[in-house]
Each structure stands twice: as structure tokens, then as C-alpha cells.
Amino acid sequence: MESGPTLFGETALTRRKQRTEAVAKHVFFAMALAMIIPLALIIGYLVVKAWPALSIDFLLDPPLRGMKAGGIWPALLGTIYLVIVSLAVAAPIGVLAAVYLNEYAKDNWFNRVINLAVINLAGVPSIVHALFGLGAFVLAAKFGKSIIAASLTLAVMTLPVIIASTREALAAVPRPFREACWNVGATRWQTIQSVVLPNSISGILTGIILQVSRAAGETAPIMFTGALFFKAVERGDLFAYSLTDQCMALSMHLYVISTQVPGVPEALPYATAVVLLGAVLLVNITAISLRIHMRARKKW
């Protein structure tokens, strides 16, 4: 040991600080890593268990022999229908509402109430949405249990999140762009049209796409409003359902073959789960790459 610190040399205190720093960094890293491990385990476990059943036929075939064999086509198709119809309803309403809230609304009690409603609606459990959908769309609106009723229920569920993510995307457009518009006499709509939307569209789309995975994954809201146990559909038939039909859905099908039907080979529910998860991941990856692609074109 030296008798005293050299110029710029470390002292006992410096060393102690560095030790704390190293500990802190590793703890945080470990927590971040802990996020990845479950995901990797889930995917790995599912894929291994599902492997024997996974094939193109599994995607395109209807379930056979009392759901103990065959594929998941009707459920996959039903989920696609539900997601498309629900987003076709929720996306335009959500985006337009968000534009109003972010671009036009002044900070008064009425708009605060709307804001509060949006936030609270986003926090409502999906089973409550399911009951609301049953009451409002199936019974009161007399849609009966159908794709349209189930999609509207999903739309109500995804709407507040679409509004929130759209508002965030709109708010991220730098104010100087708006100021440039205001000060040449652009109306609010012209400002939105020429500057705000073109520069927030990637964020808006990302938010909407992320809701696809949510709508696809939920079971409760569709169980009461439009999903059914089994429907005979031809292999690969794209137009098996009409909007007023009930349909099968992946999440519901997974629940059914895991718990309601005795004697289903183990690989089938796992393979269904892999398809559901795979579809969701695919959609999320699309959203992320879209965002990266659009962001690369921005330069501010």
C-alpha cells in the first residue's frame, strides 16, 4: 500500500463506490434478464410439446373425430374474422377520437370526463367487457351470439388503448411543426392533415397493430358473445363464416380442448397454443419493424 493517494489515484472511498456501482449494475441486469427467461422457457416448452402435431395440415384441417385429431382451421379463421372486424370498428373511432382529444379539445370539465372515461375503460377487466357485450350487443341490439357481437365487444375493449396509443403518437409530433402551420393561417384540420398525421402515422399504426394481439388472445369477451364450441368447416375454406354466424376462435378452442374434451392427445392443445402465440408474436414483430422502418425515415 502507498502512504497516500497519487494524483488522480483511487482512494478507499472510490473503490467502495465502484463496488456499489458494479453490484447495482448486475442486479439491474439480472432483473432485465429475468424478463427474457420466462418467455424463452414458455416458447421452448410449448414448441417441444407441440412438435409432433405441428404441420401445415394442422393449420388447414378442421378438427376431426370429436376434436381428438385434425387441425384448427375453423378456430384460426374465426380469430382472423374477429380481429379484422373488431379493428375495422375500433381503429377509425379510436384514431378520430384521439385526434379530437389531442388536437381540438380544450382543458375543460367535459374533456376531462372523456379522458377519465378512456382511462377507466382501459382498466375494466375483460370478463366485465364480456358481460357488457352480452347485454348490449347480443341482447339489447339483438345481434344474437355472432361474430358481429363478439367483434363489437372486442372493439369496446381495445378502443381505449387505441385512443391512448394514438394520443401518444400525436403528442410526439414536435410542436414547432404545428406552429409553422398556425402561423401561415392553417386551420386545425389542415395542420392535422398536412403535418400531424403524416408524422405520427407510424406510431398510430403500431398502437393499432399491438391491439390485434390483444383481441386475438382474449377468451372471456368472445365466450359469451359469439364464440362456439365447434363448427364444421371445410379444409382451408376462407369464407366459412358470415358476420351473423357464431364462430370458433383460437383462444376458445384452446380452452375447450384442454379442459372440456376428454382424451385429446397432448400435442394438440400445445400446438394450438403455439399457433396462437406465433400469430401474436408475428403481429408484434410486424408492428416493431414498421416502427423501425418509419422511424429511420424521420430526421428530427
Partner: protein, 277 residues
């Protein structure tokens, strides 16, 4: 003036009867008992002033004294920034801009603003220049009109020679000084009467500042220019008249040399000597 004949689009505001005065039309901007509040905070206190047409007037004063607020009153863009209550009268070229027949769209078209940080839109240089024309066009614009407008505006701000071969490049890629000139060029096709500048050089280096100031000299005469600046040397160099503000009040307004050489108010003297600010 285009904004005079627009139909009523905004709720009428209280305004005092028109001021008498034979030379009212000589004023670019005249305010009478102008008071402004942000919610409860009074940012402007009975401002009475007459800014001459066709000259450069600078607004100086410490941060938070209301310079920018006053500037933003002149095209009523303040009203886009949240809770603002305005009382009093502002006349632009003799017309009270709070009159019910004033259209904000036409007002802002005739009174352009340049900002502290250049704010070209994330589109091409060409499209930036004709952005205002597009906003105000009734239907599609003729290609030749656009080309002429772009050339004329860029000539006027001295960018034409440098940029004429890359008009379709992104405006965001230009140097800051060029961006700021472009922002000025963006106003010109709309044939503004008044150009408001909010610290237009504070993001620029010495060269850029000089270029913008030279441009201001080129433009004066055709346009009434009001510039907010923190830079007293700039106010002194670049303006004909100077207004000193403090805590929301207008302390002194006179010819620039006079304000800097023989200020009437001791507060002005203290400020320009750098005792606060």
C-alpha cells in the same frame, strides 16, 4: 387587405371604440390598453404603443417580460397556446384585429412569424416554400405558379443560388442558417404585411446571425418587421425603433439610437447597461 373582407368566423371580443388620429394608417401596429392574462397571471399590462409601418422594431427586455407574448398577440396565435384572456385593442394597418369580421386564417396569412429554432416542415424545400400557398389554395395549384413562387421567395431570401438544384431535398437537412432563411421564405408567397420574428438568430452562429440581419434589411420597407431579441447588440444593429419591456409593461419605445444612447427611463438604462436581465 385580404383579411378585412372575410366573413365573421370568430366570436366578437370587447373592444374600445376606434381611436381617433389622423395618422392611424401610418402605423403598422397600434395597441391601446392591451392587457393579457394566462389564466390568472397577467403577462401584459396596459400596453399602448404604435409600431411604424415598413421599419424594423425590436422588442427587448429580460426573460419573462412579455416580449414573446406581445409578439404573439399581433397574429392572435396566443389563442392557440392555452388559456389566454386578452382585453384592449390591437390595430394592424388601422384595422382592429379583434373585430368580429376578422378571420384568423386571413390574419395569420398576412402576419407571418419566424421562430427561435428554425422550424422547416419535414418535407422538401420546394414544398416548404409553397406550403402556405397550398394551405390557402382553393383547389389545385398550377405547377408554373408554384415554380415562380418558389424561385421568387428563395431569391428574396438569398437561397436560390445555393438551393436551386436541390429543391426537392428534405428541408430538415439544410444548415440552420439556411433553414431559418427558408422559414422566412415560406412566409413570402403569402405576401404578408407584417413579419414577426421571435429571437430568429438565437440558434444561429455569428455568420448565420449576420446573414439573417442582412436579410431583414433587404426585407424592410416591403414589410413591417417586429423582432424579439435577447441580444442587445442585435437590437442596436438591426432595428430602427426599439421597445423595452419589463414585467409585462412597456417601459420605453423610441428610436433605437436614442434608447441606447439616452434612455429616458432609469430602468431602461439599468437594463441596457447589463445590470439585470
Amino acid at each position: 387587405m385580404a383579411f378585412l373582407d372575410e366573413p365573421m368566423k370568430n366570436a366578437p371580443r370587447p373592444s374600445s371604440p376606434p381611436a381617433a388620429g389622423s395618422d392611424a394608417m401610418e402605423d403598422g401596429i397600434a395597441t391601446r390598453e392591451l392587457n393579457l392574462w394566462y389564466a390568472k397571471f397577467q403577462a401584459l399590462k396596459s400596453i399602448n404603443t404604435r409600431i411604424k409601418k415598413g421599419v424594423i422594431t425590436s422588442l427587448i427586455g429580460p426573460s419573462g417580460c412579455g416580449k414573446t407574448t406581445l409578439l404573439r398577440c399581433f397574429n392572435r396565435v396566443n389563442e392557440r397556446y392555452g388559456y389566454v384572456t386578452t382585453k384592449g385593442e390591437i390595430k394592424l394597418l388601422g384595422k382592429n384585429i379583434y373585430d368580429p369580421d376578422v378571420s384568423l386564417i386571413e390574419l395569420r396569412r398576412s402576419v407571418g412569424m419566424v421562430f427561435q429554432r428554425p422550424n422547416p416542415l419535414p418535407i422538401s424545400i420546394y414544398e416548404n416554400v409553397i406550403f402556405g400557398l397550398r394551405i390557402h389554395a382553393d383547389g389545385a395549384l398550377r405547377k408554373s405558379d408554384c415554380n415562380d413562387a418558389v424561385e421568387k421567395a428563395l431569391q428574396e431570401v438569398g437561397l436560390w443560388r445555393d438551393l436551386k438544384d436541390r429543391l426537392h431535398d428534405k428541408a430538415i437537412g439544410l444548415q440552420l442558417e439556411q433553414q431559418q432563411k427558408l422559414c422566412i421564405a415560406r412566409l413570402l408567397p403569402l405576401k404578408p404585411k407584417i413579419i414577426l420574428m421571435d429571437e430568429p438568430c438565437s440558434a444561429l452562429d455569428v455568420e448565420g446571425t449576420r446573414a439573417i440581419e442582412e436579410l431583414m434589411f433587404e426585407l424592410k420597407g416591403h414589410y413591417t418587421i417586429v423582432i424579439v431579441t435577447h441580444n442587445m447588440a442585435q437590437a442596436r444593429r438591426a432595428s430602427d425603433e426599439c421597445i423595452f419591456m419589463l414585467m409585462g409593461e412597456l417601459v420605453e419605445h423610441c428610436r433605437t439610437e436614442q434608447l441606447f444612447l439616452a434612455p429616458k427611463n432609469p430602468k431602461t438604462a439599468e437594463y441596457i447597461e447589463g445590470r439585470y436581465g
